[in-house]
Symmetry: C2
Subunit: 331 residues, 2 copies
DNA sequence: TTGTATGCGTTATCAC
DNA sequence: GTGATAACGCATACAA
């Protein structure tokens, strides 16, 4: 590996001690202008810059935040990641992107993140059960954790979420006002689905309106293909007369797959034959081809809040924010 | 910050020296079964696990790879990131996701990555000019770099790319065979666009076929909205009789935005009135609503190669791989 | 303001 | 096989 200049070398070149070099690179340290100038000169000549690794070890602060993601099929992850990384970097932090999958589960990821001494862990759209924390390999050695964009379900771990109850109430109110009475709900991967509580609130609000029956569709993942498969299974097993008149999907990418299949494979019109609703407000849902009615999560505010918790400006307590209903032509 | 157990503490508890503890956690170190057992026992009791930060400092190896990304609008980034992180983690590496933007340019990012002692930098879909490396703050202190999914343009920095010449030849051959003769090309953000060379080869191959005129459309970014704006500008400034009969877009997300606008805003049929081609094979392009003809990059192979270079199994030399033409209904 | 000693938790190298 | 010493590069506390 290449050799980098060290504070000691700069010190020798500048004719001072290495501690003076450190001071020159420390904000607000007591050092004379003259010393600083000479140090900086030598530093530039030797192309020196402080070793953040050594600093992290000494200060017990890495300024690294692990971000766990287990679902890369949902394009909505991208704008969240963009804003999150940007905000982290603005605070001098950096994101370690951890892919949670069958070869690298939460226990491995947490153990690894902890060994790397990350300052915090953001569970972005993913989480695990309380028991996972009791895994023998983990002990109590977990860094501060925060759940983003889903419920926590982990004791003592706060979450920053969009208010699902309010969101689903707005959606169902809208659907009911439009005259739909035979709703169906398509959920995605089961683990996440229950945590989002979208289905639960969907059922509740319909019930309040006197509609007790909600058809249940389930996709295996959160991808367009999974949405296609789920709507196919439903259509093949349901007689036309028994079909729902509005389908709510747990997120936009499922909804786009479903809507596409309804029109392309079954020749249905949306919304005349069946209305479709999504969740997330993914850019393409707004395209002419879809005109998907959806619900937008308050991304920027959510990330504001989680940043405030990470940096300690705000207490680590679950925060629920309100989003916005986006009505388009699919309903 | 919480206190973690150290090797010294485990050593005291186990009645050995701290070096024996280290050995117990070192693969293939010479240590007796008995010692190892006692150490492991104490380690479990104290919930000890090695501090990777200290290890990195001592070994001058962080097992961290910085991944630079400057375009989060293209959903195609997601599957690449998924595979890349998965492959990195399989090798014991981890990705530092760096968002390159106006507040955090390449120089800042490189400096930061270098200070954090990353083992390598992957420029994913982004790069900079040779001169950037000569920035005074940088010097020659840059870690090994690799460019993924675009040309390098940086001296000594290898790239792993999809063969643009071959790709565009296949595409134009296909379009020509279908009878199109008035092509247009929509490019995205200029910096990246020239590096991809898609436009260049598009023009060349048409020229070979005797078509010298290719209309030029340019989007400001790689997003559906930018595609919408670009096709609008073209349509508003071009008389119907002068219009192209086929539009090639630099990537799928631009193509989807453009196709959507052609149909929704201008009532054109695709491909009858104007055919559309994209690049990337983004999942939704294959939806019934679009049926976008496109070109698939060999994602897995590209990442295989870049992993081999990062780990040193393969020399750091530019590699060009072939992708696959996907013909659908939009042409 | 500046220099000294010590510590952060590990690894490498050498005696024993 | 095990323990000891030095080193990784910087930070903190204290002395000068």
């Amino acid at each position: 590996m290449r050799k980098r200049a060290t504070a000691k070398e700069v010190a020798d070149a500048a004719g001072v001690s290495k501690w003076t070099v450190i001071r020159a690179f420390t904000e607000g340290a007591s050092i004379t202008e003259e010393s600083k100038r000479r140090v900086m000169e030598a530093a530039t000549a030797l192309n020196y810059s402080p070793n953040l690794l050594a600093r992290s070890l000494a200060k017990n602060l890495t300024h690294q935040i692990a971000v766990f993601v287990d679902d890369f099929a949902n394009p909505q992850k991208l704008p969240f990641l963009e804003t999150l990384t940007e905000r982290l970097q603005a605070e001098g932090l950096v994101a370690m992107l951890i892919n949670i999958n069958t070869n690298f589960d939460h226990v491995h990821a947490l153990l690894n993140a902890d060994q790397r001494q990350v300052d915090a862990v953001v569970l972005f759209g993913t989480a695990f059960r309380n028991e996972t924390l009791n895994d023998s390999r983990l002990g109590r050695g977990a860094p501060p954790m925060f759940v983003l964009a889903r419920d926590s379900q982990i004791e003592g771990v706060p979450a920053v979420v969009c208010d699902a109850e309010r969101a689903l109430r707005e959606i169902v109110d809208h659907l009911h006002a439009r005259g739909y009475r035979r709703p169906g709900f398509m959920s995605g991967a089961s683990a996440l689905s229950t945590a989002l509580k979208r289905r639960q609130h969907f059922l509740e609000v319909w019930k309040e309106k006197g509609v007790d029956t909600v058809a249940s569709l389930s996709a295996e993942r959160y991808s367009a293909q999974a949405g296609v498969a789920a709507i196919r299974a439903y259509m093949e097993s349901t007689a036309p007369a028994d079909r729902i008149d509005v389908l709510m999907c747990e997120n936009d990418i499922l909804a786009l797959g479903a809507m596409d299949t309804l029109r392309g494979t079954y020749g249905l019109r949306v919304p005349e034959d069946m209305a479709v609703v999504g969740f997330d407000n993914y850019e393409l849902g707004g395209a002419f081809a879809y005109g998907l009615t959806t619900y937008e999560q308050p991304k920027d505010e959510m990330i504001d809040v989680i940043m405030a918790m990470i940096t300690g400006r705000q207490p680590a307590e679950t925060v629920t924010l309100s989003g916005k209903l986006i009505v388009r032509t699919s309903t």
